[in-house]
Symmetry: C2
Subunit: 209 residues, 2 copies
DNA sequence: GGTAGATACTGCCCTGTGCAGTATGAGTGA
DNA sequence: TCACTCATACTGCACAGGGCAGTATCTACC
């Protein structure tokens, strides 16, 4: 019986469509590419291929390196057509988790210093992510794993870059704003309603355009 | 014994810090505000307050509307100090789930038409989100639930708006690019490596700046 | 009196996370 | 040659979280 498949199933099936992988290789590849828009724990990546095999979408070839087991997974024809079929399905909406932003949102439960620290950390983490992304891309440029797929990579990577840059520049802006606040409760000299109205205007303009 | 707390615990504790709520009200409020950066299923929002009460961080007042039960939750002093303490903790990194982008990434398992449809859907969903966001903000401007918290709202909302606008403009760009492709495998006239190099440059500049 | 929509939950099964634990293999230097 | 480190290759367990179905009652309106 074919059990129900999740996006994770298809994400791995997609990778198997490119070449054969061991689970360990899959785990590392997922960290490098898919992780940016479909983050999954390594643990799951050891379970999922077994389900694909059970459903006839993938093959498992058991070998060994000395005494250590080594399972290589590949895609089947059924897997390829199931993957192609999945591309037609409507997708789930985006979901963004950003714990630090929850802390910003409830900052008035604490002190101004705490908010400043939170924003400093966001700036630092964001800078790190941007740097990591650039490093990844450099490696990809120097020795592309799948040169024939560069165009699709560019589509996806461009969004990643723009998202990361958006967060980074927002974080710097927010940190600068908060610097001038006299207290966590009163922003002083701040036309919050005006800023909000401007944001609404930008949304309307973008939605119409 | 105090069980371990999750970010969801603190998110709800934060709302309880603003005023008392019934679980139903909490669920609706979470959809309106927190959902954009800490999405959680309604189901979870019925379990979590009970844990907060068990840990002494919240109070539950059982009442009724006729025969229907009605539990109002509030925060305790212990809850307030625990919330303030939490603000000091380092946060988990961001996590973005974007199923449709997985489909874009593996688009060469299907046809060019499928990719175009996927991108069309992303544009549509993104436009909807931007519109919803603007509607929410309009309501918030007209009758703010917590006027004294407008400044924190603006900080958070600005990131939401910029993220949504980033996705929308990316989606439109991507759709336009793909329009010119002769096949899913060859982009024609496309300097993918050059585009990638430009993106890397932007990352480096932003990380340094 | 009927009915649609809002309110107020619970149970169940599954996915997914995080962490600890258990190995072996390959490379490096003392 | 031995020890050490890091990479490879998994498994078990407990708990967080998601999605869906199910079960009520209340309010407003016709």
């Amino acid at each position: 019986m074919t059990s129900s498949r999740t996006t994770t199933s298809y994400a791995l099936l997609g990778l198997l469509g490119l070449r054969d992988w061991t689970t360990y290789e899959l785990a590392r590849q997922v960290q490098r590419s898919l992780h940016w828009f479909w983050p999954r724990a390594e643990r799951k990546l050891y379970d999922e291929p077994k389900r694909l095999v059970a459903d006839g979408l993938a093959t498992a070839t058991s070998g060994s390196t000395g005494k250590r087991p080594r399972t290589v997974y590949g895609i089947t024809d059924a897997g390829r057509s199931e993957l192609a079929r999945w591309l037609d399905e409507p997708s789930a909406g985006r979901a963004n988790e950003f714990e630090a932003l929850v802390k910003v949102f409830f900052a008035d439960a604490g002190t101004l210093d705490q908010l400043r620290t939170t924003l400093d950390r966001i700036v630092a983490e964001s800078t790190q992510r941007v740097t990591d992304l650039a490093d990844n891309l450099d490696v990809g440029l120097a020795s592309p794993a799948f040169p024939a797929r560069m165009h699709l990579n560019v589509l996806v990577v461009r969004l990643q870059v723009e998202q990361e840059l958006t967060v980074l520049s927002w974080a710097r802006w927010a940190r600068a704003q908060v610097e001038t606040w006299p207290s966590i409760h009163e922003p002083d000299e701040w036309d919050a309603a005006g800023l909000l109205a401007t944001l609404v205007g930008e949304c309307r303009a973008a939605a119409d355009g």
